[in-house]
């Protein structure tokens, strides 16, 4: 076996992101030094970096994508366990460190984990199962085809059975088979079943470990004072009061601010608050008002709409949104001579490992990047800059550093969902058929787009529909926020299609239904309308709204009932029908749709980041208002698979939610939403 050339092959596969062919499945087993050591011990069977079967029958699945509450640690284990025919009660999961050479792409986002890895994981399970069967068959002197597997056991034609744990040594001697077929859906015993999250017990007992729970011998704590305005730099730093605080060890200016190093978190926080500095005037003139004015100035000519018909126009204003994960950013870094060990909840552990290695000038194999559970992600935890801060400080201080971004750091130095302006124009003819649609989608910051493209992100058949993307300058740092551009485009689209329905003199559900191109989307829309009893007369001050979305390989429709009695918006009920193709864990899908709806409630009615004097005005939950238990309506979530292949579901529950709420408010009040978060006094 030529290990050197095969190792290069594995690296090539990992870098190009090619899906794992069976050849590389076997090669990983040969090249991985860890599994070689275990094979030498003769106790466990580890055919691949993702699966290990112990002599006691425990099956440990290594999860290479980050779990931020979307349940990938559970669904990935289910995919392997299904094809393995494992005993689900003997399944354990461990988290992979950041290491793309061994695990391939690990970046977790874009609702892409299941779509990206389902085949590979099922193949791992199926191939391992085949090897266990061959091992048993050999032992019994029977044909492998005469054996079957069930619940962690191989069962022979003679009624004999051997647990997987009893076959580990024998299985290692079996050559890795090529092209093992995967199960037919009809045979699924684990996939598709409502399954509890594998981490539930740890999460309710306090045993679950997040980044800031890690303790390293000799570690010091760090909290940073950050600029009050984006791009501002400090001068006249006065740390005299800080250094007098008991427990403060040092004060270190770094590119992103001024770090206080201390013996515990409280001393670091107090030290941070006692720092005095002058800040440069960078961007001090920038505010929400100036940014909004710039966006409105960037609205240009609409795409041509045919003459003769009813034409409508509207502008929608969406704000900056912070991610505000419940677990604020943090990392523990232990940088030594030639090595580094780091712990953090990151959506890009592979990127972190590579970046740490580059910055320290060491080989990636010398960096152990532990991927912790994430207390929320929503797209924030990709950029890894907080990890690099901890690494930098540990290198300077020559001690392990535990870095905390306080809630204020986290909200005021987010990579926000950009603020956007949506100028919309559309028309229907005398028969109520749409004749044109023009969407100018402008965001701050954003590059100036130019021409209208045909992709208007519309699931509707509207002739000549077009969208132009553009942008204006802004010093506000931005990044992907759950569903990214859909969180803006779809909200505007689904509000405006409702208005077009009205212009056509038609019911918003019936109007959409006629125009939908995708049968899967039409089915969920119909199902939602039926289950929500669309068309009922609503009581006074109540309204029912509808919206739908197709994306990430899945389809969803929302029907929302709101009350506007006493001038207060209250979401009373939500009905959602979602088709994720094939749900791995319907319980998990429901949870995601419920949670994404609460994001919809929060951003439709409460949350916004405003910019004042070049910085974020909000700093904690008092200013950045988020939904509480009382804001949650009765929710009915129906998971109705079309049987299409596995779709994504981390983000699909968001985009149509705020629009359905806005449309319900119209139904209750007769007035339209133009701005988010919605205020009844601003309806038009």
């Amino acid at each position: 076996m030529n290990n050197l050339s095969r190792r290069s092959f594995i690296q090539l596969v990992a870098r190009t992101g090619a899906s794992f062919a069976l050849g590389s499945f076997a090669l990983i087993a040969c090249a991985s030094p860890k599994s070689s050591r275990e094979q030498a011990k003769g106790e466990s069977f580890s055919p691949n970096a993702f699966l290990k079967i112990d002599a006691d029958g425990a099956c440990t699945v290594t999860i290479s994508r980050s779990d931020m509450g979307q349940g990938v640690r559970t669904t990935f284990a289910m995919l392997v366990a299904e094809e393995l025919d494992a005993d689900w009660t003997k399944i354990k999961v461990v988290q992979a460190p950041g290491d793309s050479t061994t695990y391939g792409r690990q970046g977790t986002g874009g609702s892409s984990s299941t779509r990206g890895m389902n085949k590979q994981l099922r193949t791992i399970g199926a191939t391992s199962r085949a090897m266990l069967v061959s091992a048993a068959a050999k032992q019994w002197g029977v044909d492998a085809s005469a054996c079957k597997t069930e619940n962690g056991k191989v069962i022979g034609p003679n009624g004999k059975s051997l647990g997987y744990g009893e076959l580990t040594t024998a299985a290692k001697a079996i050559p890795v088979p090529e092209a093992v077929p995967l199960k037919d859906k009809a045979a699924f015993k684990i996939i598709g079943k409502r399954t509890n999250c594998v981490d539930s017990t740890d999460k309710v007992t306090g045993k679950a470990m997040y980044g800031y729970d890690v303790r390293v011998e000799g570690m010091l704590y760090a909290v940073c004072l950050r600029p009050p305005a984006f791009g501002a730099t400090p001068s006249n730093i006065d740390d005299s009061a800080t250094r007098k605080i008991a427990g403060v060890v040092d004060v270190i200016p770094i590119p992103s601010g001024i770090a206080v190093i201390a013996k515990n978190t409280w001393a670091a926080l107090k030290g941070r608050d006692a720092l005095k500095a002058s800040w440069s005037e960078a961007n001090a003139a920038v505010s929400t008002a100036t940014l909004r004015a710039d966006l409105k100035k960037a609205v240009g000519e609409h795409k041509e709409i045919p003459e003769g018909g009813k034409v409508i126009e509207a502008n929608f204003e969406l704000p900056y949104l912070a991610h505000a994960t419940m677990e604020s950013l943090n990392a523990v870094a232990d940088v030594r001579e030639g090595t580094a060990e780091v712990w953090s909840g990151t959506q890009a552990p592979d990127g972190a490992q590579a970046q740490i290695a580059r910055v320290l000038g060491i080989a990636p194999e010398k960096v152990v990047m532990h991927t912790m559970l994430l207390g929320g992600g929503f797209g924030r935890k990709f950029s890894n800059e907080w990890i690099m801060e901890a690494v930098d400080l540990s290198k300077r201080v020559k001690k392990p550093i535990k870095l905390l971004w306080s809630r204020e750091c986290d909200i005021q130095h987010d990579s926000y969902r950009p603020m956007s302006e949506h100028a919309m124009k559309a028309a229907v003819d005398a028969s109520g058929a749409p004749t044109g649609w023009s969407h100018q989608y402008l965001q701050a910051p954003g590059r100036n787009g130019g021409n209208y493209g045909n992709n208007a992100y519309l699931p509707y058949d509207i002739p000549g529909a077009g969208m132009r993307s553009g942008g204006t300058g802004s010093p506000v740092p931005t990044g992907p926020w759950r569903s990214v551009e859909h969180s803006q485009i779809i909200v505007a689209n689904e509000c405006f299609i409702d208005e077009l329905a009205k212009a056509a003199g038609q019911d918003p559900y019936e109007f959409r239904k006629k125009l939908i191109k995708n049968e899967r989307l039409r089915k969920v829309l119909d199902s939602a309308a039926t289950k929500a009893k669309w068309g009922e007369t609503m009581p006074k001050d109540m309204g029912r709204g509808i919206a739908c979305f197709e994306g990430y390989g899945s389809c969803i429709a929302h029907v929302v009932d709101v009350s506007t009695a006493n001038g207060i918006v209250k979401i009373v009920r939500m009905v959602a029908v979602v088709d994720v193709g094939t749900a791995i864990n319907p319980k998990g899908v429901e949870a995601q749709i419920q949670g994404a709806f609460m994001d919809g409630v929060s951003t439709a009615l409460k949350a916004a980041i405003t910019i004042d004097k070049g910085g974020a005005a909000e700093s904690n939950w008092d200013g950045y208002d988020w939904a509480r238990m009382s804001d949650a309506p009765k929710m009915e979530v129906y998971v109705e698979d079309s049987g299409a292949s596995f779709g994504g579901m981390g983000e699909v529950g968001y985009p149509s939610a705020p629009a359905a709420i806005a449309n319900a408010i119209y139904a209750a009040t007769g007035k339209r939403v133009r701005k988010f978060p919605i205020k009844l006094e601003e309806l038009v």
Binding site: G206, N264, S328, Q594, N620
Partner: protein, 153 residues
């Protein structure tokens, strides 16, 4: 710095720290119990909730010097053995998603039911409104607490 002796989960702990150190950081950094989490530092999110003499309290708002002889219970000490009925309900209803807020949620619910074992749905909402869940697991939290409360079956 001063030395404080406080009762945490039935055990006396000796803490050598500044008197104004919030109980949250004494529990996490000095005693080393990390089940109690930091969410905001200003008493708004409830993530840091513990029980002090059986009453739910935000540990980020309690100073070491004010604890005295009070009995502090953290998530690690909620169940004497095994799992507390609330923890079992949380698992049965598959409540947690990212899980970060959940120990605080459970302690807040425990405090409520200790004071009011027959809490109604509205009473549960009124109390649990104090605890933020960014993942939006509220409907399952409500169901879990209702299943344990004797007042809202």
């Amino acid at each position: 710095m001063a030395v404080f002796k406080i009762n945490v989960n039935g055990k006396m702990q000796t803490i050598d720290a500044e008197p104004d150190m919030p109980l949250l950081w004494a529990i996490r950094d000095i005693i080393g119990l990390t089940g109690t989490k930091y969410g905001c530092g200003i008493g708004l999110c409830g993530t840091c909730t513990v029980l002090i003499n059986g009453v739910a309290a935000r540990s980020c708002q309690q100073r070491l010097e004010d604890i005295g002889a009070a009995k502090v219970v953290t998530i690690e000490g909620l169940a004497k053995t095994g799992l507390h009925p609330l923890q079992k309900a949380w698992i049965e209803h598959d409540v947690p998603q990212c899980g970060y807020c959940q120990t605080g949620q459970i302690m807040a619910a425990a405090g409520l039911l200790m004071q009011n074992p027959k809490a109604t749905e509205q009473e549960i909402k009124d109390t649990m409104d104090g605890n933020l869940c960014r993942c939006g697991t509220y409907v399952r939290i409500l169901d879990a607490v209702k299943s344990v409360s004797k007042g809202s079956k």
